[in-house]
Symmetry: D2
Subunit: 383 residues, 4 copies
């Protein structure tokens, strides 16, 4: 393994950014990654302010991501950044990701991958051409109990899967916050920055990824009903869908930003011939398994009774609850571990390869396109 930390450069995350701070904490947690540079804002002054808050030397705080990528590429290995993390609004994912890979930098990118499937396909091509590592932060798949759930399904413990229900209710857009100066709401409500949807792209893609990740099944057909419940809002704030999975399983997916009073609940239920499982993100250290022919079972993060893959993604013993930042950090740690092995020319452990990829990102963008199409036509669409 490398004798040095992996160097990170950040794109976005300037003053007022929520997700920038989250990425930084997730990257710092394990002491394996160092933030060495950043282009935190398209406004150079704001970029400087954030750079100082992160104790960066002034010469590693850049005015633009273009400048950062160009200048860092000139620095020697070990000094220059190894990867960029992209924490900008959706419309500023494509360009920096493309440029970074083309200049030999790995990428950790916030979701959704891009504005549509066309952009996503370009990124996939470049990733394949450059061979750079690409991680997408579908955080919820980082929880140990989500990985346990996936393992359980994969091992056939539930039998053939028949039904998947995934719910992602939020309430924070119950009022037209996008018409105030609310940083998070304003860009999400603006089609130029958010893309053709708000709710589906922002949180529906998380739910979609979780459903496919855990069930191991692919959606092949969907019926979508996107709505805008807050008067005069431009984009959708509520999305309900019926799903058909390849192989015959049925599904329900709903995501909402107007489920008033909901925080950021994410609930996944998967049912097979022999039993069902339930994961509720507000209490993420618990996985409930409801067996058809024996009593209900509760698996818990950090116990001796979970799979290797769950244990690999756990930091504390049972009863020392892990949370959102640890799930997020698992993506960083696994990606960084792979980067270290790339530096060393060694093979990473299989467990470290388990983080959301650019292909998950592409699939998410297709999901967005299909959801919009189905809802517009009020009919089932093939995936």
């Amino acid at each position: 393994m490398a004798k040095r930390k992996i160097n990170m450069g950040m794109v976005g995350g300037g003053p007022g950014s929520f997700i920038g701070r989250v990425h930084h904490m997730a990257a710092m947690l394990d002491g394996q990654i160092e933030l060495v540079c950043g282009a935190f804002s398209s406004n150079p002054e704001k970029s400087k302010v954030t750079g100082a808050e992160y104790y960066l030397p002034a010469d590693r705080v850049y005015d633009s991501y273009q400048e950062m990528i160009t200048e860092e590429a000139k620095l020697p290995e070990g000094v220059r950044m190894d990867f960029v993390c992209i924490v900008t609004p959706n419309h500023v994912h494509f360009e920096p990701a493309k440029l970074a890979m083309e200049n030999g930098f790995h990428v950790v990118c916030d979701k959704p991958l891009a504005l549509d499937a066309d952009e996503a396909e370009v990124l996939v091509r470049i990733k394949e051409e450059t061979g750079m590592l690409f991680a997408l932060t579908h955080t919820y798949s980082g929880y140990p109990m989500v990985k346990e759930a996936r393992k359980l399904v994969k091992d056939g413990e539930l039998g053939k899967i028949r039904k998947v229900v995934v719910e992602y209710p939020q309430g924070w857009l119950s009022e037209p916050l996008e018409k105030t100066d609310h940083v998070q709401a304003s860009w999400r409500g603006d089609p130029k920055k958010s893309g053709k949807t708000c709710c589906v792209g922002d949180i529906g893609t998380h739910a979609f990824h979780l459903a496919e990740y855990v069930s191991g099944l692919k959606v092949e057909e969907l019926m979508s009903d996107l709505s805008t419940l807050v008067p005069n809002r431009v984009l959708d704030d509520d999305a309900n869908m019926l799903l058909h999975f390849r192989g015959g399983a049925r599904g329900v997916l709903f995501a909402s930003q107007i489920s008033a009073g909901e925080e950021n609940q994410v609930i996944l239920q998967v049912y097979g011939e022999k039993g069902g499982l339930e994961f509720r993100q507000h209490e993420p250290n618990t996985l409930t398994i409801k067996w058809l022919h024996k009593p209900m079972e509760v698996r818990r993060t950090g116990t001796a009774f979970v799979s290797n893959i769950a244990a690999y993604n756990t930091r504390t013993p049972a009863g020392h609850p892990e949370g959102y930042l640890e799930a997020f950090a698992n993506i960083y740690r696994n990606a960084a571990t792979c980067m270290q092995h790339l530096l060393d020319g060694t093979e990473p452990p299989e467990e470290a390869l388990d983080f959301p990829s650019i292909y998950d990102g592409l699939r998410g963008m297709r999901f967005v396109d299909k959801a919009v199409e189905s809802s517009g036509n009020k009919e089932w669409v093939q995936f």
Copy 2:
């Protein structure tokens, strides 16, 4: 109020019946109703066995519901039954209900009301012509916290309703029990006895009633996806739907009998402009209210902090949990209270009028018809 108990005659509920025993316990709980006669089975021997178990005199145990209705009608008021409770499979609801009303008896009928909307309309007409009282046992609306939820919505505490999610997962038909001698499963799996659906009629109607009862809204359009997940099964065992309510609210309804490991969960979530509410039937004494602009609140059965209508339907102080039988008993108690006032020629209290009616039954049958139509055509249907 009447100086005597209200007399009940039972149709169905012979050996092996689950729901017959439930109706009996629900009717007995408050000491207001007496079982005076029964036609418990189409098999006279079986009817006698059950009659003896209920300590009935032999001459009040009948060989058929036709005989019971005819013979009881000859007895004097106060001796004869005042109402019939119908606890037979779906295909034996229509005839006894019709006959009972035509002979001057009130009816408490298990759900769904009949086999289809046509039958239901006939019953509605007869009910209106005869003026008899008719209660339908949509049990879940009998819970105090469901009534509290309805009151909350009605009083506008949540603001305009925007979204309703209702879930009814069961797992007991994960295997083809209908091909064994399982009493409950065999008739439910047989279209002649169950009607054109299994899952939708049996539990989907409960979910549908609950959604409309609490939200106060009417579904005007739905998109349904009925499936049969267990191989070689005749009827549906899983049903997922998207709902549009009059006035613009959106909804999701799903019911399932193949959600392996689920018992009999019923979950209702209703979201308005100002907050949302959540009711989970497995813990029915709790109503969670998630406010947009203040902390989450938990209302509990039996406390001093609930509405009159909730209190009216409660028997024990807070912390003495009430359950399914008490919810069921509320339908009987309210209906019987109305019958007592009819005997007395007095007005019942407004609270006693709150039980599911024949109109709810008709609406449920229309729901079944529409769900089947939408799923078959894979398109949205108007309600």
Copy 3:
């Protein structure tokens, strides 16, 4: 089995009584018991009012329990009451229980058994001399999941028991309600009616019974700390104790009536060498088992995965929650089943013998005496 219902006469339970109504509902639920007479109040007018509410004929409503016992004894078997249920305040348990047994009537008595261990011992002697059946309504032991817990311990599944924690917090006496006209509070706060304690006798005895019933262990030594937290109150309203069980297990018991905001929570935790169990009365259909060497397990009322004794005390399938009244009704049903077998001269099933007995009542009264003694002297006392 008897061809007739078991006849019940009630002592106490007049206007304003909470527990009288509860006993009545519990007795009615299974249709096995009929209320035939009552002496509902020491005030004959009040007794009449309640008698009419229960639809009793006037000649079976008595002015006093003495009159009721004398007069009923003159009626023929099958007409006269078979047993009395005593639902009066503590100071009116001893006399009617004694008189009933001496006149050949079985007894179902509310807890605590009497005012002190001396009274209790007299009742035990009379019970043994007369051979009458005597049931004490320690309701919480009537829950199916409490019986499941007991079975689990008895079968050695948890290994040798090491620790028992039982908690019974209420908050309803956080204010001096006993100085108002609050019916329940006034007699409980009066030493003449309640005995030498309020909190210990009223709810501490429930906790004590539950701990011994489930663990199968007997307390041999205790250290008690009784307090009166509400100013100017006469009796204790909070009780905390350390327990030593025969065989070495340790325990903690606390009961409180000033745990403001608590409803009527009862929590039992029992730990053995191999695992622990947890029962929480507010959600009584769940028994959580925390294993040392395997994942946590959840057993649920009504499932196929529980013991015979739990199933015997269950009325509805899984997911149709049972509550306090059903637990209460189990005591009545089991006692009444034994009475029916006594009438028939047959042996009752072993499961029906499982209800709290007069010996549990005696033990409870000793517990009260020891708790008062220990707290007064601030030292450990032998049991």
Copy 4:
């Protein structure tokens, strides 16, 4: 504020250490602290291994804490460590803490502070003489909802406090792990390393701190019952206590390492005249408030409805669960913020001063002494 990160040196935390990794993650999370040196083990080879894992240069990895403190003191400010974090077993807290403060280094020390109150008093004296900052990692007080609870009590929202119940059950020592090579168990079971107790010192002190921290009350008298339930074990593994607080409130405290199947639950309940609160560490983002005169309320980490002090100690929005590491990190962040202000000569914000102090540590050691004394003599002891 300082333009540089705060420099940390670690004492202990070598191979196999659990708590060393936890301290490191907690220190890293916010990007405010840098690990610059360490004496990770009394075995220099092991110290080197750990140093390399943390990417430390070889010359900052020391063979002993004495060497580290001496050598670091020679380095210039900004290069040398600013504080030591002490993550060794209990018997190696006193010496390095003393030496560090005497050489001008701040201290973050794992709990309990020392082996007994005598050692603790010496450390208090030195802290006062040197003026160094001293933080003790009573982690559970770092949770935002614990701080919310404290604020609620302090603001009088619950009225005068009457009762405090604190529970800390673990099950991991249900078997004699200390007789295996289990790193955590062996030193904890050894009186030379652990002190005069195992359970009381290790986790009882956490419970005691939490009770006093949230209630704002001081224990003045206690009755303790320490037991050793696992045969042939040297120290206590179960501790149950009755508490009297100054001002009249009553309390119960129990801690256990043989509550088989329990992970690391910590539960606090505080009751006042107007309501009670409940905090359960396994779900630490929820604070339940049970009001006497209004419905139960649930306050949640990250919502807009909590106090400034809770918000100050929160990193993510509501519904993005925080856990144990974030609570731990709050102690580091607050202490480091104070250190930065000391460097700058400015006043830290009041919120940053809220971390467990050396005085809490002294109080914890007195608690240990009193608990042992009371249990040995089987009598109440003054505090």
